[in-house]
Amino acid sequence: MNKPELVVDGKRLDGRRFDEIRDLKITAAPLKNADGSAYIEWGNNRILAAVYGPKEATPRHLSDPSKAIIKCRYSMAPFSGLSEHGRSGPNRRAIEISKVIKEVFENVVVLSDFPGSEIDIFIEVLQGDGGTRAAGLTAASVAVASAGIHMRDLVYAVSAGRIDEHIAVDFTMIEDNYSDCDMPIAVAPRNNEILLLQMDGEMTKEQMSEAISMALEAGKKVNVAQRNALKEAYARAGEEKN
């Protein structure tokens, strides 16, 4: 396999430094029907997240009388990738991602405030270029907040890993494919609590520490983008005055 050079003249293929995340912009509440929604453009990723709830749990007999249950669906559009038309329907990867993202929201959402209800989170990847679960979760967090659902923190996610001897954050698809480790991490920023962590590859203990630190540092910018999106949504609502 011809592994492409991911690092040229000490810089990454798109010119970024190792600790630099791609450009990112989030728009809150772009959808009319959903109770909350957000659209994220992170590098070349284009992802739509939406929330319905709290609503009546269906089927009723599976509801939990003491708290809300969360359902999460992460899915990639068949036209979202750089290669061929993909098959429809969730594959095993998507199902696993749906599960680990759901578990993040089961932590930060104050489930006990909505007993017996259901909260549905949808993440649709319209265009993907590496780090889609991190971008999707980051958008979903804004969507949940925009729905007014009680949360303890505005959680975000970012990926980190290793390319040769360099620890780096926020991999594009090509970096993801050829890196020596890729690790998505979701963080509740108030106490820097890690709520999602998946890793595969080859890393020493020291490299792991460095990667996690770099992710936490880079994540601050992600969190700022989320906050800006929410503030802008209310400024925007004011502009529609007429």
Partner: protein, 202 residues
Amino acid sequence: MRDMIIPGDMVSDKPLRIANGFIQNGKTYSKVLGVYDAAERTIIPLEGSWMPRLEDSVVGIITEARPKVYIVDLSYFGRALLIPGKYDRYEFQPGDIISALIKNIEGKNTIILEDPKPLEGGTILSIKPKKIPRVIGKKSTMVRQIAEYSGTHIVVGMNGLIWLKDGNIALATEALLKVEREAHLSGLTDTIKNFLEKNKSE
């Protein structure tokens, strides 16, 4: 605009037992996207589902008529029941619209209603529950001006369902949706008044 607070933001370095807030390590944080009124020490959520309170007045639709209880749809995730007492003389069919009061909340999410009044004809508009206080306005000034200009009979439910009948329902609906969109802005009463005057004759 007052500073917006985001879930997880600290609103006080003291532990305050306030709605929409939670305490951790002796400090108070917000659970919601909202605005913090430091003087009143209240967190005002900008969005969110209706949290029922005793004596709230609601608008709902009868969905089931069982021998001893009516099931009522309040667009709420829990159950809402209307249980006629021994001396109650009302009778409803599925599909009937009613206004009612919250008598009790049982088991955390089951609402018991009382004092139902039928609302015949008309239509229902669904507004985000957190905007309802603004739709009503101080001493009902906002909803009254909308009703006046449109000539529409309006009954507002705290649960976010609003019953509208007769008059210029389209105008009333537009005005109500405008309040919903701009609820967080100041000078809204005048804005709506201007809107109603401008569009009244169309």
